[in-house]
């Protein structure tokens, strides 16, 4: 079938659309930003941005022939601006490539900025088309630049290292709240809940001796920064974060240290499934919240000999003691929340969700009610397994 001339011309014209990326934005000309840090300088009133850019010249270390230039696999650039966006655009003055932000996976927030208010950053991340709200936010106790420059012994960049560490923490322990920026944005808008972002601390300065096997861990992800509205008001510790995990039902795996019912020596119980049921009751200004936590776990360790699980009473006692640890975690989380008057556990939100009419009356005075709130915490733990043996080695 002969193609009509008209169609031929149209098809011919389409060829012009196949010339590749618009405005020569080819991947090799872009600088891929993999981590972003923001801070605020109260003296100058300027926002500071620090970014980590992947450097393709550095990652191929085993290049054959030629004078191989020893380049780092990433580059750290910083800039200042009156707004976060301006700071970001000011980076262009210092770079030979155009930055591409879609691969940014970490948002490190400096403590100064967190205390001033993070709304400008949240706006930037939800508005800008390349940035994403699945970025992992963390508040940095220490210097942003040092964190991004830190050498993660098992990863090629600190961005990758922090991302993996946050993800691993989510599945391994309950000491760091691994959240994405989307949750921060959502919780900021929900009534009766304050936001909380994980903390990065103990940042080790970079050592020149990178061949040493004893490199200090570059950073520790533990605890969290707690906010009221969009500004940070304090740090909370690891146990409080664990309490938050229990209340939210987000604990994937937790290791609890329990005193043995036999001789009060410590032993470890690993909880690998937990579920929380929270019921609020409101009568006038009287608010009572019942938190029922049900967890299943296994005994992972016993450092003194003796039979713990075969004898019913001891088994039950062990379970009660484990439950008490969980209850203490929640109690500590609540106490700290009341100290800071920041409802990061979302108890107000619980009332808003379950008892919306009561919340309407309660909301204006929530700041007064919250610090006096008492929780009825009932944890129940089933220890269902004890590993491959039933008791510790016998000594005769």
């Amino acid at each position: 079938m002969p193609i009509p001339r008209r169609m031929f011309i149209i098809f011919f014209l389409i060829v012009f659309l196949l010339t590749g990326c618009w405005n020569r934005r080819d991947p090799e000309l872009l600088g891929f930003v993999i981590a972003t840090g923001f801070d605020y300088d109260p003296k100058t009133g300027l926002y500071q941005i620090v970014i980590q850019v992947a450097n393709p010249l550095g990652s191929t270390s085993q290049e054959q022939g030629g004078g191989s230039v020893d380049k780092k696999p990433f580059w750290i650039v910083e800039a200042l601006g009156h707004t976060p966006y301006e700071a970001r655009e000011n980076l262009a003055l210092k770079s030979s490539v155009e930055f591409f932000w879609a691969h940014n996976s970490i948002l490190a927030i400096g403590e100064n900025l967190a205390r001033r208010g993070i709304l400008p950053i949240l706006d930037l991340f939800e508005r800008e088309r390349q940035l994403r709200i699945i970025t992992r936010p963390m508040v940095v106790e220490g210097d942003l630049r040092t964190l991004l420059e830190a050498e993660f012994p098992l990863e090629e960049s600190s961005s990758r290292g922090l991302w993996r560490q946050a993800t691993t923490m989510m599945f391994e322990r309950t000491r760091y709240p691994s959240t994405v920026l989307r949750e921060t944005i959502i919780n900021l808008a929900r009534p009766g809940v304050d936001i909380m972002i994980g903390r990065v601390g103990n940042i080790a300065p970079k050592t020149d001796d990178s061949t040493s096997t004893g490199t200090t861990p570059p950073a520790e992800l533990a605890g969290a920064a707690v906010f009221r509205k969009d500004h940070m008001i304090g740090w909370i510790g690891e146990r409080e974060v664990a309490g938050w995990h229990w209340v939210q039902g987000r604990a994937h795996r937790a290791t609890l240290i329990v005193m043995s019912p036999l001789d009060r020596s410590p032993l470890s119980v690993e909880v690998h499934r937990s579920h929380a049921k929270i019921v609020p009751r409101v009568q006038g200004d009287e608010v009572t919240i019942t938190v029922k936590i049900h967890a299943r776990g296994r005994m992972q360790e016993q450092i003194t000999p003796g039979d713990l699980v075969d004898i019913k009473e001891r088994h039950a006692s062990l379970e009660r003691r484990t439950a008490a640890v969980i209850e203490n975690d929640v109690e500590m989380a609540l106490k700290r929340a009341q100290e800071l008057n920041s409802d990061y556990l979302g108890l107000g939100n619980l009332i808003y969700r379950k008892l919306p009419r009561e919340w309407e009356l309660l909301e204006p005075k929530w700041e007064e009610v919250f610090p006096t709130l008492a929780l009825d915490i009932q944890a129940q733990v089933d220890i269902v397994r004890a590993g491959l043996v039933t008791s510790a080695p016998t000594i005769k």
Binding site: R129, I133, V180, A189, N349, R357
Partner: protein, 364 residues
């Protein structure tokens, strides 16, 4: 001889036409202050849209061999009868133009930030017009091909975000009362005006008398998608971020993250959306050209397609100065009365005329 399409193909066309709007800006969530109860609004919308489908299709099935232009003249006389037809043609023009505009705004906002809008609209309309030139049978076969692809992408983009779904974001249910819920149902109901396309397509069906059933199936299917989409979008983004988003469905897809390897999966659904827009716009251009040719008693509709396309493109480009005007149109107040006037000027006179003819039949 009249071109024929199967009722199944009409179902595909209507389904894609209606679902692209959901993917575009999820009107139940973004046009009013309903928040987490958007899915309740979607349920109401399902019924109101079904009512529109019945009203539009029921009249058409009385005249299985005629388009609204033909039976309109029969019912209301040669001059008065042109009014409903003109209103319907205008309504279809506005719907298709807005469809294209929303899609192109999306592309300019998120993917092709420096491409001129006129170029995108022009390309989109040109391709649709080329499709319309081939006739409705070809378009229906294209719908046949695209539909499975469309469905797969739609279903997968509703399933992938599920790990991020939190039922808590949907609570409290029904706390604000009926006011916001009904306000939010205005715009999605008004978008039901798309079903006016039936008045022209019914005579092309292989089984025109079953048109009501087909239209209802399409309405129910797309209504269910709307309910599920409203449910999932709010469960992933929360009511606040969801309703502040210009394209909530797209924003939701951007927050998909399944482990490390499955991220940035929003492109496929944007393609599906584009394909859906292409089908609906070319069907509307076809219907418009054919309707117009009947209005002017022309033998062939084909010469009208290119001029129609130019008008479409110009309207799409000129009608809205910026994206804010486009969004403002869908607030309950302008869009409700606006589309209601379409029904008032088209369906109401036709039904009155029909009633009149039934009660006082003309003597032969």
């Amino acid at each position: 001889m009249r071109e024929k399409i199967a009722n199944r193909q009409l179902f595909y066309i209507l389904f894609m036409m209606r679902t692209t709007v959901i993917i575009a800006f999820l009107p139940v969530l973004t046009t009013a202050d309903v928040g987490q109860d958007a899915w309740l609004t979607s349920i109401i919308t399902l019924f109101t849209t079904a009512a529109i489908a019945i009203l539009v299709a029921a009249l058409g099935t009385r005249f299985p061999e005629q388009t609204v232009i033909e039976y309109g003249e029969g019912l209301l006389g040669p001059w008065l009868g042109k009014i409903p037809s003109l209103v319907i043609l205008l309504a279809l023009l506005i719907i298709a133009a807005s469809d294209v505009r929303i899609y192109c705004e999306m592309l300019v906002t998120s993917f092709l930030t420096e491409t001129p809008l006129s170029f995108l609209i022009g390309t989109m309309i040109l391709i649709s017009a080329l499709g319309a030139q081939q006739g409705i049978e070809v378009l229906a076969r294209i719908a046949d091909v695209i539909f499975p692809l469309f469905l797969i992408m739609l279903v997968s983009s509703l399933l992938l975000p599920l790990p991020e779904f939190r039922a808590a974001y949907l609570e409290p249910v029904f706390a604000q009362g009926l006011g916001p819920i009904s306000r939010a149902s205005v715009a999605p109901t008004a978008i039901g005006a798309q079903l006016l396309i039936l008045t022209i397509l019914i005579p092309n069906l292989t089984a025109p008398r079953l048109a009501t059933r087909t239209a209802l199936w399409a309405t129910v299917a797309s209504g269910l998608v709307l309910i599920i989409a409203a449910f999932i979008v709010v469960g992933v983004l929360g009511p606040d971020l969801g309703s502040r988003s210009v394209f909530p469905f797209y924003t939701m897809l951007r927050s998909i993250e399944i482990s490390e390897f499955l991220q940035r999966v929003e492109a496929p659904i944007i393609f599906a959306w584009g394909l859906g827009v292409f089908v609906s716009v070319s069907v509307i251009i076809y219907a418009g050209a054919r309707g117009f040719s009947q209005l002017l008693h022309l033998k062939d509709y084909r010469p009208l397609i290119m001029p129609m396309a130019v008008i479409q493109g110009a309207y799409s480009f000129q009608a809205y100065d910026d994206v804010f005007q486009l969004l403002a149109l869908f607030r309950p107040l302008p869009v409700g009365p606006f589309t209601f006037s379409w029904f008032l000027l088209s369906l109401v006179p036709l039904y009155l005329g029909y009633l009149y003819r039934r009660l006082w039949p003309k003597k032969k």
